[in-house]
Amino acid sequence: MKRRGFLQAVALPCAAACAASSDARFTIEARFYEKLPYKKIKCKLCPRECVIDDRERGYCGVRENRGGTYYSLVYARVCAAHPDPIEKKPLFHFLPGSMAFSVATAGCNVNCKFCQNWDISQVRPEQVASNFLPPKDLAALTRQYQCLSIAYTYSEPVVFCEYVLDAAAAGREAGLKSVVISGGHIQQEPLKKLCGRVDAIKIDLKAFSEKYYKEVVNGELKPVLNALATIRKLGTWTEVVYLVVPTLNDSDEEFRGLARWILSELGRDVPLHFSRFHPEYLLKDLPPTPLPTLERAKAICDAEGLDYVYIGNVAPGHPAENTRCPKCRRVVVERAGFTIRALALDGGKCRFCQHAIPGIWGRI
């Protein structure tokens, strides 16, 4: 199924799921904001800190000031739901071969010119068909689909943070893990709350330059780097994805700078995925990333000393999809696209040399 062809509206086989006819059930008071004079508010969820007048919304389009109280309009307002391989997220060191029940609401707090899912991320909640899927129902549905985890993904989970927090708690009670797929544009307080509730956070690091973040992402790099450092410090499993866009963020210097920063601030064992760009949304005048560019990026980061550098969004079977033990160099997880072909791990250790491979491992 195409990423854009998500299961929507009537397709959810959930008793609680029904057409979104009323806003009230999706609306809860936001948890991270500050009240200001004249019924204004300041959002404290992401680094933008939008100051919002009465009856207006923030940059994300899913939070609204109503008479001086700030509301999330996307609580349990699921516009996309689908069981996905965890490798699709991609998370390569997290329950390999398992399925993640993946959900999204409308909205995003950046506006990447290359967004593949702009038709849900760059719209307001009332502009897309949605279902009401409260946390316990989401957990039940996840179990029903025999998924081991709930993935908050496709758009930007930061903007539906309240739902993520509650659904992750409901999931944990049901024996499920939760993973967040995010751009990492979030303030420290809500991030710390998320880290306490979810099991992994994959961060889309869009580039390693403020210029790119300003011009292509409409965001900032520094808060994302701070978020990564915090996630790592708090011990939540994290992997980093870097979408390589031809001519815009594909220089040797940028790859090297990225590798050195990860090495010094996060550690050599944080997986880094270089992903292939496809022209979409507002960036249609560039070609897809040539494979040699991705291989060059990997070679640079390997040489800098990172242990787990992958290539993604390419034809299945590329050797850089595999996980190699950094000690004995043998393949411990062999992949072809989203499929696990072979697993040579015992209790999270290389079967050949017993070297510990970091991650959250489980049976296929």
Binding site: Y38, K40, V51, D53, R55, E56, Q122, V123, R124, Y281
Partner: protein, 324 residues
Amino acid sequence: MRIGPQYGITRRGLLEAGLAGALGAKAATPEKSRVVIARDPGLGAGRSPDSGRVLKLLDRAMQSFYGLDSPLDAWKKLARPGEVVGLKVNCLSGRGASTNPVLVEAICERLRQIGIPAKDIVIWDRLDSDLESAGYRVSSRKDRIRAIGNDTAGYGNELAVYGSAGSLVANTLVRTCDAVINLPVLKDHGIVGVTLALKNLFGAIHNPNKYHINAGDPYVADVNMFPAIRQKVRLTICDALTAQYEGGPSYMPQWSWPYNGLMVGRDPVALDYTGWQILERKRAEKGMKPLRELRREPLYISTAADARHRLGTNDPNRIDVVEV
């Protein structure tokens, strides 16, 4: 001297003739952008001005803008029977600082008198609830004047893209209307400085929340480059009956004042520049800092005038402000 088309002389024609004579054989000077400001000091403050006086004020503004003696002749310059005319109101701020229904009623009256039937007039803005809160009765019945929000009418499927902006555009603009009259309010905006003709068209796109960053620059200008907006918006009539110089776009009565006027222009950049200066003068009069010092100077106005956009002029020497 009598000025009017029936005498074969219009104000514009007179101006052009005078200029041509003065310049002789030299290259033609670019035509100035006309912004008409009509005021009626006796109109009185509040949201319920006398409808007859508002109609007269509107007539005065339209006649002056088109250089015609008859109000209906002026309106005939704008639209013709068979066309569907959209009235893009600004209703975010409830009854306090939204486009006044009394003004819209006057416009509808004149449109009907030139042969535009009620069914071909559409009052529109982003949300049904915004229209309702500003005093418009939402209706999509096609046998009467319609008032409809984009949330009901929907957005087109094709992404309009220009510069840094990419948006879906309201069906009412793209599909329903042949012509649009832009009806902003003269007021301050807490993020982008002022919200007038250019900014009011944010109400035509699905994602205005994305384009307030950097005080709306260059986004406001970019959005106004979308073909549907460029091709269909024929005139701006800015509601300056009550204006607001601080605290917008929400209604803040402490920073509002009865300007008792209307601003009419075809060049949205010239109109915005003129309106911005009015608000700055009022701010100065009240001892408030200029918008530049508050980092919300509406630079998008000059961007709209630059070589990439050419949506109009922000050069005061090329704006002909006519006060009537």
